[in-house]
Structures are given as C-alpha cells and as structure tokens.
Amino acid sequence: MNQMGIAFELLGVGMITVFVILALVVILGNGIIMFVNKFIGEEPKVQAVDSSSPVVTINPQKLAAIVSAVSNVTKGAGRVTNVEKQ
C-alpha cells in the first residue's frame, strides 16, 4: 500500500479504536459502579487515617511558625522540604 493509503487507513483505524476504547471506558466504568453498588456496597464510615483530607483547620501562620521552629532548632542547617506539590 502506498503511504497515503496507510495514512487514511490509520485515520480510520485510529479514530475507530479511540472511540471504541473510550466507549468501553464509559461502559466499564458504569459496570464497575453498578457492580460495586450491588455487591460491595457503602464505604465504611470510620476510615483508616487519611492524611490527604485533614479535618481541623488552623491559622496558616502556624505553618510559618513550624518552618521557623525547624530552622531555629537546626541552626539553619535544616529545612522543611516536603510540603511538596502534588
């Protein structure tokens, strides 16, 4: 097959595949949701410690204070590095 033939076939195969797969995403996603709803049910309320959803709020200045404390205690040699971007 010549190059253009391949190119048009790729347009066809590629777009069909992408549509099929994302249709499957929708179908499988709904299937999983329904399966889980039916056979596994509600998430237990009392969860394991989930560090990504803290419940208490606090004055942001305290964070600066913490960073500062670290800096003081370690005489400038330490710093809080792990307030990392996610």
Binding site: I6, M15, F19, I21, A23, L28, G29
Partner: protein, 403 residues
C-alpha cells in the same frame, strides 16, 4: 609559542567559528530557558530540555546525543553501555540507556498515574467519550505530513503532538522516528504551555455565545443521571485494573504506557498500605526521570540535527495538530447536542485534548467569563483525563501499525 597554540587548540573557539550553527543553537537554548524561567512555560520540562540543548552544543563538551548509526554494529547488535559511555560520553550513556530503550516515558506515566484522580471522570462518565474526538488532530496532521514529504513514521510522530501529552509524544517518537525526538518534544511541551492561548482561539472560531452559556449544573438538575456511586474507593481501585486489562486486549501496544499509568493510579488508590510505593512513584522516581528525560531530550538537539527544514514543519504541524484536536472535541459535542435534550457545553469537548489540568482550568475560565455562575471545571476534568487515555491509545495504534 607552542603553549599558547596548544591552549587555543584546547578551546572550542575554532569549532564555533567553523560552524556558527552552534551559536544559533546556544541562542535557541537560551530562548527556551527564557520561556521556561520567565514565561513559566512547563518549566519542569523546558528548563532541563533547554539546558540539555546548551550542553549538547558546546563543541568539544561531548554532551550531544550522537545518531544511532554510530551505536549500531550491524546484524541487530549495538555497542554496549560501557562502550557508549567510553566512546560518546555520559549524555549518550544516559540517552541510550534511559530514552532509546523506551524506559523513561512509561516510568513518568507511572508517576502521572499516581498523581491522577479518576474521581471527576467517574462522576461524569459520559463526558469521557469526548476524549476520543479530540484525537482528530493526530491523524489529520499525519496525513498532511505525508503529503509534505515526511515518511509515515515521521508523520505519525509529528501527528502525536496533537495528543497534547508529553510522555506519549516522546514514547511514540522514540519508537518510530527517534531522530526527530528533540523538536517534537519541544513542540509538545511548548504547545501544552500555550493551551491558555490555543483553546480560546479555537473556541472563539467555532462556538456561539449561546453554546458557551450552556450551564452544566442546571442541565444536571433538569436531567439527573441515574447512577449514584456508593463506594467511591472500591470503584477507584477496580477501575484501573479492569480498564487496564480490557484496553490492553484491544490495543496491546499501548500496554507500556497505559499499563504503567494505571499501575501508578492503582497504588495511589490503595492508599496507606502501599504509600511507600506511591511516594516513590510520585517523588524520587518521577523527579529523577524528569531531570534525565529533559536533559537527554534536549541533548538530542545538536546543530546538525535541529537546524533542518523538518524542524520548522514540526513546529507548524504541531500547532495544527493541537488546533484540530480541539476542533474535533468541540464538533463532537455539537453533534451530540443535536441528538440529546441534555445539552453539553462545547468547552467540555475542547478539553478532550488532555494537557491535564491546564486545559480544564482554561475552559472553566472561559465559561465563567460568559456566565459567572457556570462552574464547569469538574465536568471538563472528565474529558480532560479521558483525553490522556485517548492519546495513549492512538499512540498504541500508530506504533502497532508502523513499527
């Protein structure tokens, strides 16, 4: 005097006079640094890439990636890594071990997967479908590029820029046209950084005010969806496993990318029991991979390779691929709206492009400009995330047919 002559010979002055292309490349490197540092265009990738360009174009520094014919020994054999390091220096050692092997893009996908939350997509699953239409730019630019004289493999690597996904573009190019890796990576990341310019441009040309005013939350109230998710955690754990298996059966060549993306996502969703792994995948592994990917991809752009007419075509073609992909997503929404009472804001088609999460933020801003109560971010994220899957699948198709 002998000493001064030897001293002069040691310098790279003669080389630079002999090939002013080096200076041009250094200027390009400096310009990319400017974009990354001052303009803040995807700095995590553009800064290392730019520095790699500079290192590669310091003549005598032995830091430019050499063409693979210098590595091949014939009959399917190649120099081994010690020989590459000895003959061509550490940058080629890194490039041939980490990039040419196809290793880093799946590793970066693992990290991206562990940073991605499929929640918004699962809550608005139907919108995920629009991530498919927004791959249109890939295949149309592929056709145009062949018309303009690119080989099929080169054209596919150019087209995949329209997937708006850096690691996917890099992976595809490694597999199909590694000699174009530098400009394609630069184009992919630059246009991803330019999404706040490109999306409004295409949207303005294709959408009416009335369409942009479609309020998703009101539509949801009018036509509520029937499915409620009772146990999001269980769904989020099952989803990457099931999706991975099913997609892989249909497009096996997408496994290295999608498999690792979904593995990363799975360990994220499992949570505390494997938190050590998630931390590594999103932290030291991802960051280290980013540094070395950037430097080595930059180092492929030596004066000899980059200063070529194809580079300009890639820059133009990459832009078109982006624009056509956005156009495809918008059109798919318009067509869907013809057949459904529950209308969808075409901006949600535009974000099918991917470029997560910037595309969604840009789309949300446009929507708010038309109606300050129309928050569509969560809806956009659905097609936005599915666009990542869409382009990885498209890459799988291209690799499978052309490799």
């Amino acid at each position: 005097m002998g000493i001064l002559e030897n001293l002069y010979k040691m310098t790279a002055i003669q080389d630079i006079i002999g090939n002013p292309g080096y200076l041009l490349m250094l200027a390009i490197g400096a310009f990319l640094l400017y974009l990354g540092i001052r303009k803040q265009y995807e700095p995590l990738l553009l800064v290392p890439i730019a520095f790699g360009v500079i290192l590669a174009n310091l003549p005598g520094g032995n830091m430019g990636v050499v063409p693979s014919n210098l590595i091949e020994l014939g009959e399917g054999h190649t120099k081994n890594l010690l020989e590459i390091a000895h003959d061509h220096g550490i940058m080629n050692f890194l490039y041939y071990s980490l990039i040419k092997t196809g290793f880093l893009p799946p590793i970066i996908f693992m990290g991206i997967g562990a940073l991605t939350d499929f929640g918004p997509m699962l809550r608005n699953l139907k919108l995920a479908f629009f991530g498919a239409a927004a791959q249109l730019g890939i295949f149309t630019v592929l056709i145009s590029a062949i018309l303009l004289g690119f080989t099929a493999k080169e054209a596919a690597s150019l087209g995949i820029i329209g997937g708006a996904d850096g690691p996917t573009a890099i992976y595809t190019t490694i597999k199909l046209a590694p000699h174009l890796l530098g400009p394609i990576a630069i184009a992919a990341y630059s246009y991803m950084a330019l999404v706040p310019v490109i999306i409004p441009l295409v949207v303005r040309l294709t959408c009416t005010n009335k369409e942009l005013l479609i309020n998703m939350k009101e539509m949801d109230k009018k036509y509520p969806s029937k499915v409620k998710i009772k146990n999001l955690r269980a769904v989020k754990i099952a989803f990457p496993i099931v999706l991975g298996i099913v997609v892989s059966i249909f497009v096996p060549s997408s496994v290295p990318l999608l498999g690792m993306l979904l593995f990363g996502n799975l360990i994220k969703e499992i949570g505390i029991n494997v938190a050590r792994l998630t931390e590594a995948a999103t932290g030291s592994i991802l960051n280290t991979a980013t540094i070395f990917l950037g430097l080595t991809v930059g180092a492929t752009m030596t004066a000899e390779v980059f200063l070529d007419f194809k580079t300009i075509m890639i820059i133009v073609g990459g832009f078109l691929a982006f624009a056509i992909s956005i156009f495809g997503g918008v059109m798919a929404v318009k067509i869907a709206n013809l057949f459904n009472k529950k209308k969808i804001n075409p901006l949600i088609g535009a974000t099918g492009l991917s470029a997560v999460p910037m595309a969604s933020r840009v789309a949300n801003d446009i929507a708010l400009k038309y109606d300050s109560s129309n928050h569509i971010l969560q809806y956009c994220m659905s097609s936005n995330i599915s666009g990542v899957i869409g382009s990885a699948v498209a890459a799988g198709v291209l690799i499978s047919f052309l490799q």
